[in-house]
């Protein structure tokens, strides 16, 4: 299973000389399953570059949306494969009592916000609400579950063979709760991330910034480390970087993350900050275990 980060920024694109190394595109992760099936996790502006990297031959692609905030769907109308008739795209996302997934996405993919309408897309596109139970795409079993964020929001777990990828880019599990103290089944997103090979998780704020952003739906570094430790994630990638965070600041956060993870008993190299175009190949078997939960 191959994973590639195409957009790691949160909230709004943040291009510029200060963000060249970690990237300025918003959330998008490309996944190639062991049978060759293609997934895109979210469709932020990073999906534009993912689309340019795909071959022009007939393609079937699944886009798994965590939620419909603009930074997770903004790249849809600039996704080149959507403008090829030979492409089949299945878009998965959270259900809402208010309107169908198609209708909610069409609010963005329509005038005056967009030059094209959903019905005008040349590709074969369909929309599906994620089921409550596990389902299959290609060689993978997919699980979606609601997680703590603002509005209907999902996290995903993708199991393919012995590898697993957990993707929870917008998540505030520590809202009104102490992750270190809660029972496992009371931690938002726990089941999705338990013992996962690779956890891609919200790490938008520093611990010092978080008190000014309580309830905004995102995590501080300390929350993400606690979540990773409690769930036993083998490797953790902090994601959804704040648009105000420069490369230099993110380097400092990365150093701090590794140091704190090591203090918890883990391998400092098992925690890193997501950078655009970084690729991961998931191991067939889990390697370094996460730090044990203190008694």
């Amino acid at each position: 299973v191959k994973v590639k980060l195409w957009g790691t920024r949160g909230s709004i694109p943040a291009p510029g000389p200060e963000t060249i190394r970690y990237g300025g595109n918003t959330s998008c992760v490309g996944v190639t399953l062991s049978d060759g099936s293609l997934l895109a996790l979210d469709a932020g502006t990073g999906i534009r570059c993912l689309g340019l990297a795909l071959p022009e031959e007939p393609t079937r692609l699944h886009i798994l949306l965590t939620h419909l905030h603009l930074d997770h769907i903004q790249g849809l109308v600039f996704f080149a494969p959507a403008f090829r008739p030979q492409t089949e795209i299945v878009i998965w996302g959270p259900a809402s009592p208010e309107a169908s997934l198609r209708d909610r996405i069409a609010r963005y993919v329509s005038a005056p916000l967009s030059p094209v309408e959903v019905r005008e897309l040349p590709c074969d596109v369909s929309f599906r609400h994620c089921p409550e139970t596990e389902w299959e795409i290609g060689s993978a079993r997919i699980r979606a579950a609601s997680v703590a964020h603002r509005g209907p929001t999902l996290g995903y777990r993708i199991d393919d063979g012995d590898s697993s990828l957990t993707y929870i880019p917008d998540h505030e599990p520590a809202l009104g709760a102490d992750i270190d103290e809660l029972e496992e089944d009371w931690i938002s997103g726990f089941a999705l991330a338990q013992d996962t090979s690779l956890l891609i998780h919200d790490g938008q704020y520093t611990d010092a910034e978080y008190p000014g952003h309580v309830g905004w739906g995102h995590s501080a570094l300390g929350h993400t480390l606690s979540f990773a430790r409690r769930t036993g994630a083998r490797r953790t990638v902090l994601f959804h970087h704040d648009p105000l965070h420069s490369d230099d600041l993110l380097d400092e956060v990365a150093d701090e993350a590794g140091r704190r993870w090591a203090e918890l008993g883990g391998d400092s190299a098992a925690v890193e900050l997501g950078a655009e175009r970084t690729e991961y190949e998931l191991p067939a078997r889990a390697a370094a275990p996460a730090p044990a939960t203190p008694a």
């Binding site: 703590a148 809202l175 709760a177 496992e184 089944d185 338990q194």
Partner: protein
């Protein structure tokens, strides 16, 4: 086999055992987090009517913290704390506001008496709200208020 921690154990084909956690619905998680921050006694039941959490204020009313008691079913709850009607008779489980909220999916209100672990009785008003989601009922929340004129002990909370 269900364990108290919420973990389940499953045997794989080759005989090794792994455990996995059954996740509480997000709506219950958020409700618990909110209740933990309230100074009003509040109770949380799941979609099956099992009491899965009450907050510190409720623990003060009952004389026992939730961490000491753990999740309990209605029969055990009834034997420990009641509740009772104005004549001191136990209120049938099916008539409790929380049960109405879970089963009928509508708010319910009642005045009743609960007994704390020291034997003191507290007259309270209870309002229960269903937790309805796109996937149906996930449980209910009940908030207790002391009946102002009748219960000095609870009013001191």
């Amino acid at each position: 086999v269900r364990r108290k921690s919420g973990r389940f154990w499953a045997a794989l084909e080759w005989g090794t055992k792994v455990s996995f956690v059954t996740q509480r619905p997000l709506e219950l998680i958020l409700a618990r987090n909110l209740m933990s921050a309230l100074s009003t006694p509040a109770f949380l039941v799941d979609e099956g009517g099992l009491l899965v959490f009450y907050n510190e204020a409720a623990g003060m009313l009952l004389g026992k913290r939730f961490e000491e008691l753990g999740a309990v079913g209605p029969l055990e709850w009834g034997s420990l704390f009641g509740p009772f009607d104005e004549n001191g008779e136990p209120i049938p489980y099916d008539e409790l506001p929380l049960v109405t909220a879970v089963r009928a999916g509508r708010p319910a209100h009642a005045e009743l008496t609960v007994r704390s672990t020291d034997g003191a009785q507290h007259e309270v008003e209870v309002s229960a709200l269903p937790i309805l989601t796109a996937h149906g009922s996930q449980g209910a929340i009940a908030v207790f208020w002391p009946s102002q004129a009748k219960d000095k002990g609870a009013a001191a909370l």
